[in-house]
Symmetry: C2
Subunit: 353 residues, 2 copies
């Protein structure tokens, strides 16, 4: 009748594997029955063959106390962000999102009005990105708020870009700027502590508007997908930057069987992020490499396509793809070559941040 | 900085709306941008146009302490059931499931081995029903286990069966037998209490094998979909029985704009369920109408199709569709006509069970 397996001491702590280790471990025995399953576990999204078109599908869980802190996350922003981060995965496949499905589990602590606010944020994202909120599931939770979003998209089969297509000599680009979302979180955490110490002090967040927006209300880079399409450039590999630049580069290297070299001075950082990073005594490059939640796009292109996009202001060449034997490295501004390691965000907390 | 909206006393308790009320309320403003979204909120699953075929998509959240009690739910069974209940939604659209996507949030209380057991159950269901576990998301939770499953399927567009197609004079059928899963849960809850009182007493569950299996390891009725296909019968409306027969009949009535009359003596109940219901001083019919989690199929057919399936042993005619003005009613075995009300399972606990 009773089953206390999780309490035995000889069992393995999940944290010892980390998020990607756990997923690799659990999914290694999976076999597919259907030829329509063109891509399962292992990319930004799954790809399902539907004839001339493919359906792209991704899903994400957002858990209170793990992915967001309800004290400083307005519910409308949370709803918006929950949709956007899934759309970002669809764009990262070079596809256009079409439908989203929202699963919500809320504790009794949340009123109807709170759930409405969450929904309003989701609907706002749906309006902005022109996707259909086409279903879901709403239920109760014993404690906390859980969001489970599924997004679907479409693409022509030969237009889909996987993580696995990068080749040596390809150029690596990243959109926008990196590290700001992480700095925004640092500010919010600091203000939460200050508020706990003295609730009467109202913080002035005005100076942090940009980095806070990057944390609380990120956008998915539909514009980059459109721009590449218009320029006639199909990336050889692409991924969205959700766990930090280093982690995403390592994903492309692993899936494509390649190495990569990037240049610290080429990594796009916003001055407002750099200033805040210094306030916290953190190197801005560390924020860009390991911060995560930027939802920018990292992609590789064949060198022959360089001229087609070299004048675009919103994307930045940061390095190139190499042979696998060279590993993934960064030339620092001071001329050192350092190995990139996955210091991205890990919900199982294997490492310190 | 701080936001305490959910604590204000003038706000609305979610429980006052109930699950379906909440979903109706939240989704009433939804508009679709894409003609491919053939069906969004409002049926067992969403339907997405992909050319000659349609993609069917459904998702479900399963929450520890709400949908399952980890004390008496073996994790392997839980994984199996989590997949099966989603496949059941795909079959209820008269489609064949193809892919599933699993989102799992687990607290530190769960070991890797526990999550492996859960995965083993999911994989077993995937093997049995020949579906591809094609993606997902694994993360941590501050407390408890949350499962979010998305399932996709395919069908020819004109073969999809919605809840909305029933017409007066159609016949209502249900597969298998009803109420056993609920009785299984009653037994498990009773034994949990007995175990708490005296952990040394090992319960003898042998007599309850059938109803326990119905609760812990339900199956989806692929066989019924195949059988109807072979008989050349396309139901006019269909739904799976997850919340109890009464609730599902009311869903079909609402979506189809019809009424329904069913006959108590025609409702299929298993003798082992009836015996247990009597032990608990509950009417077996109440278990069938309101118990839920049977994952049988309720469907309506045009009378002209009756001869094609009248000899099938695994489906049972229970009544017929009427004009909407007549409402949804049941003739009891003692000859009374009573109104059917949705006493199905409600995670927000509006009503007593």
């Amino acid at each position: 009748m009773t089953r206390d397996k999780e309490k035995k001491t000889s069992l393995t702590d999940i944290a010892s594997l980390g998020e990607f280790g756990l997923i690799d471990h659990l999914t290694k025995g999976i076999r597919h029955f259907h030829p329509e399953t063109l891509m399962g576990v292992g990319d930004d999204a799954a790809v399902i063959d539907c004839g001339p078109l493919v359906t792209i599908l991704t899903k994400d869980l957002l858990v209170e106390g793990v992915h967001f802190d309800i004290v400083y996350t307005p519910l409308k922003h949370l709803g918006y962000k929950a949709i956007v981060v899934n759309l970002s995965d669809i764009y990262a496949m070079n596809a256009l999102p079409k439908q989203v499905f929202a699963g919500i589990a809320v504790s009794r602590r949340y009123s109807l009005e709170a759930v409405e606010e969450l929904y309003a944020g989701m609907m706002l994202a749906c309006e902005k990105y022109k996707v259909d909120l086409a279903g879901g599931d709403t239920t109760t939770s014993p404690s906390g708020l859980f969001l489970s979003i599924t997004a679907t998209g479409q693409a022509e089969k030969e237009q889909v870009v996987y993580r696995s297509g990068a080749s040596p000599m390809d150029l690596l680009f990243v959109s926008g700027d990196l590290g700001a979302a992480y700095c925004g979180q640092l500010v919010l955490q600091r203000e939460k502590q200050a508020y706990k110490a003295n609730p009467d002090v109202q913080p002035d967040m005005g100076n942090y508007a940009y980095i806070l927006e990057r944390q609380l209300k990120p956008e998915a880079r539909r514009d980059i997908i459109e721009l590449l399409h218009q320029a006639g450039v199909k990336p050889t590999a692409m991924i969205d930057v959700s766990d930090g630049l280093a982690s995403e580069i390592l994903h492309i290297c692993k899936r494509s069987g390649v190495g990569a070299t990037i240049y610290e001075e080429k990594i796009p950082v916003d001055q407002r992020m750099a200033q805040t990073a210094h306030e916290f005594n953190i190197d801005p490059t560390t924020c860009a490499l390991s911060g995560g939640e930027d939802y920018e796009l990292l992609f590789s292109i064949n060198q022959k396509d360089y001229d087609k996009i070299k004048d675009v202001k919103t994307i930045h060449p940061i390095g190139h793809v190499t042979e696998a034997s060279q590993g993934a490295n960064m030339f620092t501004s001071s001329g050192q070559l350092i190995k990139l390691t996955a210091q991205g965000w890990d919900p199982f907390g294997k490492k310190e941040r």
